[in-house]
Symmetry: D2
Subunit: 379 residues, 4 copies
Amino acid sequence: MDYMFEGLPDASLYLSGTLDRYTNGTALIPRIAGKIALEEAVGSSLWNAYTTLPATNQINGYDGVPFDDTVGADIIARLTDVPARLQSMDQSGIGYVIVSLTSPGIEGIFDTANATSLAKQANDEMYANYVQAYPDRFGFFATVAMHDPSAAATELERAVTQLGAKGVLINGYSQIGSASNYTVQYLDEDQCEPFWAKVAELNVPVYLHPRPPPPSQQLLYGNGKYPMLAHAAYGFGAETTGHALRLMLSGLFDRYPAIQIILGHAAEALPFLVHRIDTRLEIGVPGADGPYNQTMKHYLQNNFYATLAGIRRLSTVRNTIEEMGEDRVMWSVDYPYESNEDAANWFDATEGLGVETKKKIGWKNAERIFNLTVTTTAS
Amino acid sequence: MDYMFEGLPDASLYLSGTLDRYTNGTALIPRIAGKIALEEAVGSSLWNAYTTLPATNQINGYDGVPFDDTVGADIIARLTDVPARLQSMDQSGIGYVIVSLTSPGIEGIFDTANATSLAKQANDEMYANYVQAYPDRFGFFATVAMHDPSAAATELERAVTQLGAKGVLINGYSQIGSASNYTVQYLDEDQCEPFWAKVAELNVPVYLHPRPPPPSQQLLYGNGKYPMLAHAAYGFGAETTGHALRLMLSGLFDRYPAIQIILGHAAEALPFLVHRIDTRLEIGVPGADGPYNQTMKHYLQNNFYATLAGIRRLSTVRNTIEEMGEDRVMWSVDYPYESNEDAANWFDATEGLGVETKKKIGWKNAERIFNLTVTTTAS
Amino acid sequence: MDYMFEGLPDASLYLSGTLDRYTNGTALIPRIAGKIALEEAVGSSLWNAYTTLPATNQINGYDGVPFDDTVGADIIARLTDVPARLQSMDQSGIGYVIVSLTSPGIEGIFDTANATSLAKQANDEMYANYVQAYPDRFGFFATVAMHDPSAAATELERAVTQLGAKGVLINGYSQIGSASNYTVQYLDEDQCEPFWAKVAELNVPVYLHPRPPPPSQQLLYGNGKYPMLAHAAYGFGAETTGHALRLMLSGLFDRYPAIQIILGHAAEALPFLVHRIDTRLEIGVPGADGPYNQTMKHYLQNNFYATLAGIRRLSTVRNTIEEMGEDRVMWSVDYPYESNEDAANWFDATEGLGVETKKKIGWKNAERIFNLTVTTTAS
Amino acid sequence: MDYMFEGLPDASLYLSGTLDRYTNGTALIPRIAGKIALEEAVGSSLWNAYTTLPATNQINGYDGVPFDDTVGADIIARLTDVPARLQSMDQSGIGYVIVSLTSPGIEGIFDTANATSLAKQANDEMYANYVQAYPDRFGFFATVAMHDPSAAATELERAVTQLGAKGVLINGYSQIGSASNYTVQYLDEDQCEPFWAKVAELNVPVYLHPRPPPPSQQLLYGNGKYPMLAHAAYGFGAETTGHALRLMLSGLFDRYPAIQIILGHAAEALPFLVHRIDTRLEIGVPGADGPYNQTMKHYLQNNFYATLAGIRRLSTVRNTIEEMGEDRVMWSVDYPYESNEDAANWFDATEGLGVETKKKIGWKNAERIFNLTVTTTAS
């Protein structure tokens, strides 16, 4: 029923001959069934994927978990609990999820051989536990070890062609070397070219997922004084925005105009910032900022998709749609770091997006981009 | 707490160590206390104010009541039930209401002497039953008999200066004569001048409330084929929009630039229409459409306030704010024709307006315009 | 170049080494080429199509022309001047236009036989003068005489299948009889059924174009006191909105769910009004307002397209998109009653719509709906 | 005239009896006079204020100037050319400007004694050259040396009480020590308390102006590979956003609830990000991210103003207004790094903000906040 997409219901007025329709202060949220979510993390039985390997002191112990203890334990348990995940999806009207290995995952494994080997095993495990077990409910994004971009290309091809991976998810920069001595590698660096050539050949999207800034780069965040500031509250987004801009400036999308990058969190503030970024680049020394040929806005509108993972805010979503177009925005959750129920309640109840727009964001865009058809029984 | 103005709550996440915060499919709506409402109808013990007097067959029996029987009985009872009104206000976070005589009221009394006399009595009754009885909860808009504009001016002065009326509410055109032979008088007609002079002198706003089109003018609505079409679903607004434009075209606001008209229902589509109205007036024969000196948009932005009576739709409210400014828009209900609870649930839960904007629309604008201070205990 | 869709240019900064880029107070508007326009009026060599036939005193002489003399003469000349139209299209970046007979056209011809005959001749003339002469620049909407709905169905079929008409345009109600004694027929009346059956069979859209309210229905407009108020400034829209709602209430779209109606002028305020219309219909006597099964919003979102003929206002356009979806809104002009250059300047320069949205509204939606491909050399 | 605030003009249609009103592809922009601008940089005769002192290799030579040579020379000349500034203000409808010392200014002077002394002299110079010379056109924000916060407090008091400074502008972090060995100090650090106590006592706003990230923190920007990425195109904003969040987390606004911070560039993406920042802080270890008591959104809405320096984008401005309220947003330019003419052309022509909103942003908010009255002759 169309009213499902219209926000809080205000139909069935006077059904009981009274004006006091609602119990004071609560509202029924019509559940929109069949939604698709794309930034949905899973753990691994092979190692603690949410830490670097071997462990380094990044903020307050681990790469991405400065959590309250209770919350942290709950999240960690949910990373590998498939029945709980399915139950939560059912309660939240989520028909289909593309899972991926949680951050930092492979990118936080310092040793190249180990990273390359574990990436392959992790893909096999995601395939077996999710896709093969519940083909109607789960797809997966492959993980690859960018430490060796040629090997990453090979593994990507295997994951896509043999395991049916819907694309690949990269957790930002890779740390390569050892815990005490490593280099940080971003995706725009020259040595990554074999990976990008394979991405273009396979024609699958690359989800660029956040990591906190490297430990040496946390002066702005007080070097641990404000751990969440360096983490998901702000540092994640600042880091990922910069990484995405490096890809644009590097000319990647001029060399491979069809490559598509997915960014979570409403494209990490790029919709808000991109116009000024372009006007400021204009006053730089021509060519000094990289061999790009188009505006950053052009790349954003032609080479990027945004998901709403972690976003429950109308002003942010509207800004994103206005800059990227409603055909490039997809709902998501970021489970289990976010609640499926919270994310669904916000989206299902929001009135500030048109009916057709909500359908596109809720599932139609994902169906088109990933060639999916999600069968659902409307709740 | 500020989160009260932010839409559906998504705070207190993980309070219980679980992500499944909400009972699936319901949400708590934080109630915003102290709201003010301005298009709130009351009946009269003196006559059936929601019919013409004597009765005429307007659509299907009465001026404004082609209601479902159950609904109609409930509404009619509520028009005069003060305790039920107060209880509903309390449940809905409404701190203060300016009541007015329901449509058609005085404007539907054909006989001039009778209309003039009943207006005076109705004002005394509204004052006694609402303002005097509950001075912290109620104000009132006076009613006057436009059949005799000089007498209307006299009664308006009495109501404002002696009874503390917050302004005057006019139910559209007046029917003057008898049930079988009457003229229809709009407020831009020359004979209304003494009334407007007094309005300007007293410096009080005039609420222009809808009526359905006169019976002879209902060909578009199928002459009864679609009763609600001629009534609140569409005819009310089409009629009132035209009436407001007549005032603008008549030069009233050039003669009295300080006069302020209040329109309900998001200014009855004028925010959506006004730009085109102005561009089309430009191609007319100069002067042939009235002695006005400004654009209709100028009048809308300088001589009109909008209430949200009957409006629970973000796109409509945003359009209204964009054209009239957030300082000229005031929330309202249209009780008992609308539900206080529905109206409050929508407004309290909507996220699509900024925090400060919600405060202005919720009560701050009304406090400024009517020189009120509403004391409330935040729920 | 994508910057063409971004509003006023602010690129090429510092081209001359100076910050004073613009001559103070003017801006270059990047012209967007290849736009499609759909509410574009033409006259007829067969009779004065912009008057009723025989003439009646509608407002101040004619059905739709209370114009300033200079303006009126210019408009009338342009209705039939094809080279001037093409030149103006070229200057304004308009690649393709679907023309139609100006209002009142056939609907203002009282005699049924005459109306039926002239409709056929007018279609032949539009085909010859526009489509056959400039197949890359013009299509046409057929005209039919609703006086005899079966004959109208026959002529519609001929126009579509033999002349390639893109649909049919109806100028509101038809006046049937004689100048001194006629009935007014709206499209929801029972006798129109054969026409609608043929529309559904041919699967072509129906453009519902405005007329001023019938002479007997102009009390609200002062019976000639404010001629433009009854005409394009307000009466056109109020009349057409009511007519569209009659179609919805009549159950037409329940009987023929695929029928598509095009409304000009941003759907004549329905996007602003429709939510309240639905909530008010809910309190009516069930079934008393017609045999419809869906909300009016459902019909608006599934059976209506909007054009922006005559609209150059961002708030209005945004409201329309929000309610109808960006895939159902199409730019247009209303030439020669509006200026191609004005309409194009506004649309080409506006920044308040996203790039992809502007492309859809500018031509992509029309290409999809009318199965067109407009070849253009980007300016 | 009100039409001045309505976007591109479309009045005076048919003035010449023709529809071809505009020369194809250009539009007259109605100039809005009397605007106020707040992020307007000036140089100093005392030292090269746009470099660190002594010079360090920050990105490609200086703190903030990886400019094209022609552009750079033009900007540097304009920093100190008062007549050119006034001429540009006149051409752009700018009535009044609050100037401030360009970045890095005092914050880039390593030696504490030198910084303290030069701050005092710079304030005297700004006062003499701008405020004393053109009291109707210029005010100034003081500069202070945060190297010695007590001395900074003393100088702030002198500047405000004796020179009439409108507040103080701080260029982000301070570098304290020597060019080869310095510490970086942010404004939330404990030793800054005497400064904040004086700010609260004097009740003047603090403009937090960007700097690029410190040299050691530019790994994300390729350590010079993309100089503009670290600079105004992105690094400025990322750095300043983090700095502002440090102030919020530090509890500064709980200790001094009346302190007001001004951020340029539409509050540096905080409006887009703030909702998610709050929801992510909720899952952190309670108290571990600082002794703050409110949400970041609360601080943004109660302790921050935004200017539109460098912003010419409707989607960004609307997002900012929606989160911060239209009473907390002020137009600005960032001259001479941005063009007065470009900034004015965009703002004067934009239609996507309401008339009253444009007046508030254009000058009314600044008049209220800085207790100004700007006299202007409307152009």
